[in-house]
């Protein structure tokens, strides 16, 4: 069965709420019913049929084509199935998702993967502020799942994150992240000011020295870490090729809070 395709007709005149377009909600619906689903966010009524050309049938495999940064909440609360976005995604991509896969060829807006609990998101280009952070109305950031960002990230990446590895290949914004209680490692090339501010637990792995290291991260010197080799292998299995080696400079912190986390800068 061919994928269910939503091809954007024109640049929308308002933000679109695409949260109803997930496999669990579209399963068993006819094309006419799908085209009648309301996705507008202003008092001007806007349905799926007004904004998208709808093709295909397989609601477990959804494709969005030609979308832009106004297409919000793609894959929000996803609970299985696959969504592929050929274009950009707006705010709250995959927010609160529990399982399934999302792939984006372009960039995503603010709050991508916010309060995500499971599943996998791959964004080929950049993400906006508060990626993997706290979704609206939630108290905690990302709790599980796997997110890969090919480009830059905005401020407050991983804010109040608890669990779930995240790979990032380029630069981060200021006050880069504040994981609350995360237990997994993540690899990133560089970071903006105050990386790791308020880090309680977990490991931040940097391929390059962050711009400003907080004095509340205590330098423990260069050490060997066997788990970096294991992590490198695991990332390779996830199709992410990053050379980590096994030596890194370790800084413990953030001592301003619990202080049981660490920052590793690859040697």
């Amino acid at each position: 069965m061919s994928a269910l395709i939503f091809e954007l007709k024109d640049t929308p005149g308002q933000r679109l709420d695409l949260s109803p377009l997930v496999p669990a909600r579209l399963a068993g619906m006819s094309r006419k019913d799908i085209e009648a689903v309301s996705i507008g966010t202003t008092r001007e009524t806007l349905t799926v049929g007004d904004a998208f050309k709808v093709k295909g049938k397989d609601a477990q495999n959804i494709h969005f084509v030609g979308t832009d940064e106004r297409c919000d909440k793609i894959g929000a609360e996803l609970e299985g199935g696959a969504i592929f976005v050929d274009g950009d995604a707006g705010a709250s991509l995959g927010a609160r998702m529990k399982s399934g896969k999302i792939g984006v060829t372009g960039s995503a807006g603010v709050l991508a993967a916010a309060s995500m609990a499971g599943g996998e998101i791959t964004i080929r280009r950049n993400v906006g502020a508060q990626a993997c952070g706290v979704a609206l109305g939630e108290t905690m950031g990302m709790k599980g799942g796997f997110v890969t960002v090919g480009g830059d990230t905005g401020a407050l990446l991983g804010e109040r994150m608890r669990r779930g590895p995240r790979g990032r290949r380029r630069q981060g914004g200021r006050l880069c992240r504040r994981p609350h209680d995360c237990r997994h490692a993540r690899a990133q090339r560089g970071a903006g000011r105050y990386a790791g501010y308020g880090n309680r637990r977990g490991s931040l792995i940097f391929m390059e020295k962050p711009k400003d290291i907080l004095p509340t991260f205590s330098d423990c010197g260069v050490m060997e870490f066997d788990y970096l080799r294991l992590l490198e292998k695991w990332l390779r299995d996830q199709d992410i090729r990053i050379r980590l080696g096994d030596r890194a400079r370790r800084l413990m912190g953030d001592m301003a809070v619990l202080g049981k986390g660490e920052m590793l800068i690859l040697a």
Partner: protein, 361 residues
């Protein structure tokens, strides 16, 4: 109106016409009293628009942090009477209220306090130039940024290890932390518009660490322009804070999506109602859409603006406002009542009536 003076009735008709045709109007500024805010909420609900306040950035940060982890706020009166150590974080609290120190440290002794420490003020990231003579004050200031100073104080408070080459700063930080540890009631004062969420969380971590052995609290500065009053009015009216849209079946709050500046820059909003009518406060109007300006201050009208001169709340008419010393809403008597100008509430109510008449016709 279009740069020319017009009768009030004509301006109201034009405003009703513009708003009735608008696809997504935004009610911004909202420097008004509770009556004006309630009328704006009612009209926004009728039109499927958005409500936002000029001081929303700090308000949204403070409420986000409070929602995520909770907090232990203290009232002005409690701090004045019972706190023995007050830490003012950053320059904004004293810039916002130059009399803040005098309000928190009155010259005359107040009610009996816990502990026998002399009262002390610690200024973190600010200088003590304007501190009254009767107040024992210490300034912890350096080239270090405010987030760094907060992190250093928090680390020293927990007696954790940190690397700091500036020995003079280290001595000040350690002395402030020691003072906090032996305080009977320590309070941290900050302006949420000045510090970001991670820094606020670190301040709250300090409070949580202190309350294991003693008492501690925070005082988050109220938003200017009756921001807290408008926010409370929104909450008791529709169950959600400001930056809420009424376009859908149910109101929807989103601190990022319903920011006035963003809505206008992205051209998602096609009409702006800008309200600037509060004694002692004003805010710069953003550009980007046809505007209906309700102002008590002299304002420059753009080509398509409809400017309606209104009374200034608490100056021209009595006004219900959020009063920080009370931590609640109170009535403020007008300095000199001017009944010649309409109130914000009266103008917005009349516009709503005109829209109803148009729709009924």
């Amino acid at each position: 109106m279009r740069g020319e003076e017009a009768e009030l009735d004509s301006a109201l008709e034009r405003a009703a016409d513009l708003l009735d045709r608008a696809r997504f109007p935004v009610f911004g500024g909202l420097l008004t009293d509770i009556g004006g805010a309630a009328a704006a909420l009612s009209l926004a609900e009728k039109l499927g628009g958005v409500i936002d306040h000029a001081a929303s950035a700090g308000l949204m940060r403070a409420s986000k942090v409070m929602r995520e982890t909770g907090g232990t706020p203290a009232s002005f009166g409690e701090i004045r009477n019972r706190a023995d150590t007050v830490v003012v974080i950053g320059k904004a609290p004293l810039a916002r209220d130059p009399d803040l120190v005098e309000k928190l440290f009155p010259a005359k002794p107040g009610l009996p306090r816990p502990g026998d420490n002399k009262r002390e003020l610690i200024l973190l990231g600010a200088d003590k130039a304007k501190t009254p003579k009767h107040v024992s004050a210490t300034a912890v200031d350096s080239r270090a940024s405010l987030p760094e100073l907060v992190a250093l104080l928090a680390a020293s408070l927990r007696e954790g290890r940190f690397d700091l080459r500036d020995t003079a700063l280290r001595a000040k930080i350690d002395a402030a932390a020691a003072r906090l540890r032996k305080s009977a009631f320590a309070v941290f004062v900050y302006d949420p518009a000045e510090i970001e969420e991670p820094v606020m969380h670190t301040v709250l971590e300090m409070v949580r660490h202190l309350v294991l052995t003693t008492r501690a609290a925070i005082l988050s500065m109220a938003a200017p322009g009756n921001g807290d009053g408008v926010n409370l009015c929104s909450t008791w009216t529709c169950g959600l804070p400001i930056r809420t849209s009424f376009a859908g079946d149910v109101p929807q709050h989103d601190a990022w999506a319903y920011d006035t500046d963003r809505l206008l820059k992205s051209a998602e909003a096609d009409a702006l109602v800008w309200i600037d009518a509060l004694a002692g406060d004003t805010a710069a109007r953003p550009k980007g859409a046809a505007a209906i300006v309700l102002s008590a201050n002299p304002t420059r009208a753009a080509k398509d603006d409809i400017v309606i001169e209104v009374a200034s709340a608490a100056a021209d008419h009595d006004a219900a406002l959020f009063l920080p010393p009370l931590s609640g809403i109170g009535m403020v008597k007008a300095g000199k009542a001017d009944k010649g100008k309409p109130t914000v509430a009266a103008v917005l109510t009349r516009i709503a009536e005109l829209i109803d008449e148009r729709r009924a016709a």
